[in-house]
């Protein structure tokens, strides 16, 4: 776990170990009225979403806007969107950990928590999409009376295994990182929080034996999570790529989806960190340098995504395949041109602004860019799924899909669901890693002092 270089952006007056514990513990104080107000707001939106879902369960999937041949709409779009969001958390927590990237220590906890809540949100959508969500357990290979087993050749089953594994492993990774931090908070807390942290710290005492095994376990979990994160969105991309729909059947899909996932995830990390560091007064730890580094990640992945857009169009033209050409022409100039151009402008052009250092270090500009990137990434999935399905091979089988209020309400509810968990987490558990931030601060020495 050791990262020896001082983090970029750490102020000249380097905090002491005691400062770190005190400052992070201070973020867990009693919530303000503003916090309760925000929580009440997101819970209200969530209830609207739950109401819409109950209405859909009562009336059937007909209340969603599915129109043949577009039988995958907002729900699958949002599913792919949230799975994508989850990816940057593991990138920051596991991949950058393996690369000994010191700057990640202050921001990885927020990204990791975001990952877990995003997967929890994503996992709802296949269930909502299938309509009779109480039969979702049929995806699990379990012994049953009819001696039926699941079809392991189906991408739906691959998804179930990939996302299920991703959720379990990323949750374990989050909890493992939290244990020493909770122990540090436990030893400062009073009242009911003391009881909560005493239970959740699992009797952690930071002995040499515990650290000896902990550091190895953390390393191996990071090593396992790294190929996992790359595989999960590849598997999601194969939901599309293994079919023969024009616009889907492309070998570029796996890397294209992984880059897009990290791109949207980093954007949401930026969106979350900007208000969080201000409200929790942790600007000393999450500095402008951290945002610049995140912006560089955003720039890199944005360039890959932009390149993938160009390659998709090039291959549609170069292949000479009439259906591919027509499909991509339809994307840009057909019924859904507005969705395509929103995606291209937000994801293809906007990241170019990040070539300028001034913009990378301008927090309000980053907030605006990150919001537009997420808008663009949701539309990217909409374009890939809905627009491709609406314009396949036979003109008589083409159709137009318009989402209904039920779908918009459930989509809004999913954001509320995500933010509700994040708000609850942020006020009860450290959003800045105490242990890892301390690790990059040199321990005091007798000789130096």
């Amino acid at each position: 776990m050791a990262t020896t270089a001082p983090p970029e952006g750490m102020p000249a007056s380097q905090p002491t170990y005691a400062d770190v514990t005190r400052d992070v513990a201070a973020t867990l104080g009693n919530p303000t009225k503003g916090y309760y107000g925000l929580l009440a707001f997101v819970v209200t939106i969530l209830l609207v979403g739950v109401g819409a879902l109950l209405y859909q369960i009562r009336m059937g999937l007909g209340v969603a806007g599915y129109t043949p041949p577009v039988m995958w709409g907002v729900y699958i779009t949002t599913f792919v969107f949230w799975v994508g969001i989850a990816h940057s958390g593991t990138l920051i927590s596991a991949i950058l950990f393996l690369f000994r990237s010191a700057w990640r220590t202050a921001v990885y906890r927020t990204a990791e928590a975001m990952t877990v809540f995003a997967v929890m949100t994503a996992g709802l959508f296949p269930l909502i999409h299938v309509g009779r969500l109480w039969y979702a357990y049929w995806l699990i290979p379990y012994p049953n009376q009819r001696m039926l087993w699941v079809n392991f050749k189906s991408p739906l089953v691959w998804d179930m295994f990939a996302i299920g594994t991703y959720f379990i492993v990323s949750t374990c990774f989050l909890i493992l990182g939290l244990i020493p931090d909770i122990a540090a908070i436990r030893d400062k807390a009073t009242g009911w929080r003391k009881k909560l942290y005493t239970i959740t710290a699992l009797n952690w005492r930071g002995t040499d034996q515990q650290w000896r095994h902990y550091t190895r376990a953390y390393l191996y979990l990071a090593a396992l999570a790294t190929p996992l994160v790359l595989s999960v969105h590849s598997v999601v991309s194969w939901d599309f790529a293994v079919s023969i729909v024009p616009g889907w059947h492309a070998t570029i899909f796996a890397p294209y989806f992984v880059a897009g996932a990290i791109y949207s995830g980093v954007a949401l990390v930026i969106t979350l960190l900007i208000p969080l560091r201000r409200v929790f007064k942790v600007e000393r730890y999450i500095t402008t340098d951290h945002f610049e580094n995140l912006s560089k990640l955003l720039l890199l992945t944005g360039m890959i995504v932009g390149y993938a857009y160009v390659v998709e169009y090039f291959m549609a033209w170069y292949s000479g395949n009439t259906f591919e050409r027509a499909s991509f022409w339809n994307r840009a100039f057909g019924d859904y041109w507005w969705a395509t151009w929103t995606m291209i402008i937000c994801n293809g052009f906007l990241p170019f602004l990040l070539w300028f250092k001034k913009i990378r270090r301008c927090i309000p500009a980053l907030l605006v860019i990150s919001l537009f990137v997420n808008l663009g990434m949701w539309f990217e999935r909409f374009v890939i799924i809905v627009v491709s399905l609406s314009f396949e091979y036979e003109p008589y089988a083409m159709g137009h899909y318009t989402p209904t209020w039920v779908e918009w309400a459930i989509l809004s509810g999913s954001f509320a669901w995500f933010f509700m968990w994040f708000l609850l987490f942020a006020k009860n558990f450290p959003t800045v890693s105490i242990t890892e931030v301390k690790e990059i601060i040199p321990m005091p020495r007798k000789r130096a002092s």
Binding site: A2, K188, L202, D208, Q209, Q210, W211, R216, Y220, M443
Partner: protein, 169 residues
């Protein structure tokens, strides 16, 4: 701490003082002491000189179990309910690699955690604890009988302890 053995508990502010104390303890023949620290520290782990953690074996065997389970489950279930889907062979290994991969990761990760819990929490380091050791101090607890306590206390103080106290077991 309930059930903890008696001995001497020392607190250190400086990492070099703590490693000096560890070195002196080892030289004097003590090897069952406990070192507490707020973060994992290379210098402490080097001074204590533990062998490499066996958690890696849990990861390896967990991963291999997942791989074998993924292969066996997909193949057996395919042949148990043998129906041709999409003109593909009943046992199609290529798509099953995805399931095998995911189960390798899943079983590897879960067995790593089980290994960690088994080794890190089943430790016999049951000495007394002080809240400062999770904040900004390093602690060393040396379990020892009453007659050896003055010598240990002197050794720990000489290394630069900020506080040394006798813990009655």
């Amino acid at each position: 701490m309930k059930g903890s053995p008696g001995g001497i508990l020392a607190a250190y502010r400086h990492i070099d003082s703590a490693t000096e104390a560890i070195g002196a303890l080892k030289k004097s023949g003590y090897d069952d002491f406990t070192v507490y620290s707020p973060t994992p520290n290379e210098e402490i782990l080097e001074a204590v000189a533990h062998p490499v953690s066996p958690v890696r074996l849990w990861t390896l065997f967990g991963g291999l179990t997942g791989l074998v389970t993924g292969f066996a489950m997909t193949m057996w279930m395919s042949y148990d309910y043998a129906i041709v889907v999409g003109g593909k062979p009943i046992g199609s290994v290529i798509p099953y690699i995805i399931i095998m991969f995911e189960l390798t990761i899943l079983f590897g990760a879960l067995s790593t955690l089980v290994g960690l819990a088994f080794h890190a929490w089943s430790t016999n380091q049951r000495g007394p604890f002080d809240g400062r050791f999770s904040d900004d101090h390093i602690g060393i607890f040396v379990p020892c009988p009453v007659e050896r306590r003055p010598a240990v206390e002197q050794l720990l103080t000489a290394a630069g302890a900020t506080e040394v106290k006798v813990e009655i077991g």
